[in-house]
């Protein structure tokens, strides 16, 4: 006799099937696609099935078919070229397009996308210290400059950005101008120290504060690695922003510049471009 399981048994069977977790990175993938849309409710028909998980199967299918065809050709020999078809090679050339140059290829978005799907990004957004740093608007604004993120791969540059002495110089227009003039003229630290020493001694009584600032400039220039870091325009541009200096005045944000996850991230070519994307911001705020 055959009888169907009762309601309870059926419930138990369905319960046993249970819930399923979506693939790794699913929400990031969704937000990435949404990031390319105008705004919520902005009706636009998308072909959102493109580039999906099913696509993997199609690609594998094509690859398998190609492998089978090649294997058949390898065993049976490649088909001979029929007489009369040789001339078409020359004729076909006129249809060949000019080769793509590097200018034709826009890497920014591709690199950003690759970064957002990388383990480096995953580590970055899971790191509270790095997330805290990146959530600061002034830091974000500065990091959108790819020249700065490139320069920040150097520990010396990161030290310059978090240096209190340097920040004090950039907070004062005259001191900053003096530092930039010295960097521009290529004045050596020793020569600068001598000049500052003389100026400081002469002006000390009249203007103690100016002397101290001049001393700070000399101190910075006497440090070769600091001077080299400050010779990079993007570094000086960032330090010229009061908001950025304010951010670096916070010990925890300054310390985060040497955070391993952050340092790994700024070495990724897609990092600066990814910063401008809404899915990046969303990942930061929704962890």
């Amino acid at each position: 006799m055959i009888k169907p399981p009762g309601d309870e048994a059926l419930e138990a069977l369905l319960d046993d099937l249970g819930m399923a977790d979506p693939p790794e990175g699913f929400s990031r993938r969704v937000m990435h696609q949404i990031g390319s849309l105008p705004r919520a409710g902005g009706a636009r028909i998308t072909s959102s099935s493109n580039g999906g998980f099913q696509m993997k199967k199609v690609i594998w299918g094509i690859a398998t078919a190609a492998a089978v065809i090649l294997a058949i050709f390898a065993m049976r020999g490649f088909p001979p070229v029929e007489q009369g078809t040789e001339g078409t090679v020359g004729a076909a050339k006129k249809y060949s397009a000019a080769q793509l140059s590097s200018k034709d290829v826009v890497l920014g978005d591709t690199a950003a996308q690759a970064f957002l799907q990388s383990a480096t990004f995953d580590r970055l957004i899971k790191d509270p210290q790095a997330r805290n740093l990146l959530s600061n608007a002034a830091v974000q604004a500065a990091l959108r400059n790819p020249e700065l993120t490139s320069a920040m791969q150097s520990a010396d540059v990161r030290a310059a950005l978090r240096s209190e002495v340097v920040a004090n110089i950039f907070a004062d227009a005259a001191a900053r101008a003096e530092l930039e003039a010295s960097l521009k003229s290529g004045m050596t630290a020793a020569a600068k120290a001598d000049a500052v020493g003389a100026a400081t001694r002469a002006d000390m009584r009249a203007n103690v504060q100016a002397g101290m600032k001049a001393g700070a400039v000399a101190q910075v220039l006497s440090d070769a690695s600091l001077a080299a870091a400050l010779s990079i325009p993007a570094v000086r541009a960032s330090l010229s922003e009061a908001a950025f200096r304010d951010a670096m005045a916070h010990a925890e944000l300054a310390a985060a510049l040497n955070n391993a996850a952050f340092v790994a991230a700024i070495q990724d070519a897609g990092f600066a471009a990814a910063l401008s994307r809404s899915d990046f911001a969303a990942s930061l705020t929704n962890r």
């Binding site: 009888k3 059926l10 099937l17 819930m19 959102s48 999906g52 099913q54 993997k56 199967k57 969303a282």
Partner: protein, 179 residues
């Protein structure tokens, strides 16, 4: 297991419509597991389910301005995912039909190991027609009430009850017990 947070959902939708795209991430995080499960149980394939769930979120984002705050957000988004699943089934190439009576009809609890048992149950769900499968999946894996299922699939509550009854009968027949 189920996610029903009307007030939060409405607030998140409002933030999205005000231009805060990040708020949608909270919606995705909240519903991704249950929507993916619904799609997986409906389509029986992880990749197809991931595509359907992803498409559902994107469609929801695009059409968020058409969401009626007087309705429940989850009913609305389940309706979208079911539609995506139906679209996926239409695009799918025809395959050999799954037999009404599945092989190996023994006591599922005693004679089949867990993996095989789950495969049989999933196969039985897949053997149901789309309209029956939708109500079983929404009832069991999304935990919706009759009214909510009716809202999600766009039929009357009575129809949902009828379909659910028939779907259970058919599932029961497919998951045979021989005594």
């Amino acid at each position: 297991m189920y996610v029903h947070q009307d007030a939060d959902d409405t607030a998140l939708v409002r933030r999205c419509l005000d231009g805060d795209t990040g708020a949608f991430n909270a919606i995705v995080e909240r519903y991704q597991r249950v929507l993916f499960t619904v799609a997986l149980r409906f389509l029986g394939d992880r990749d197809a389910a991931a595509d359907a769930a992803q498409n559902a979120f994107v469609r929801a984002f695009e059409k968020l301005d058409t969401f009626d705050p007087g309705r429940r957000f989850f009913s609305w988004i389940y309706r979208i995912v079911i539609n995506e699943c139906l679209n996926a089934k239409r695009r799918e190439r025809p395959t050999d039909p799954i037999p009404e009576t599945l092989p190996g009809g023994c006591d599922p609890f005693e004679l089949l190991d867990a993996a095989e048992r789950r495969q049989r149950v999933q196969a039985a769900i897949m053997a149901l027609s789309a309209e029956y499968r939708a109500v079983i999946v929404l009832r069991h894996f999304a935990g919706l009430s009759y009214d909510e299922i009716a809202d999600a699939v766009g039929v009357a509550t009575g129809v949902v009850k009828s379909r659910l009854y028939t779907a259970r009968q058919r599932l029961g027949q497919m998951l045979l017990e021989r005594t």
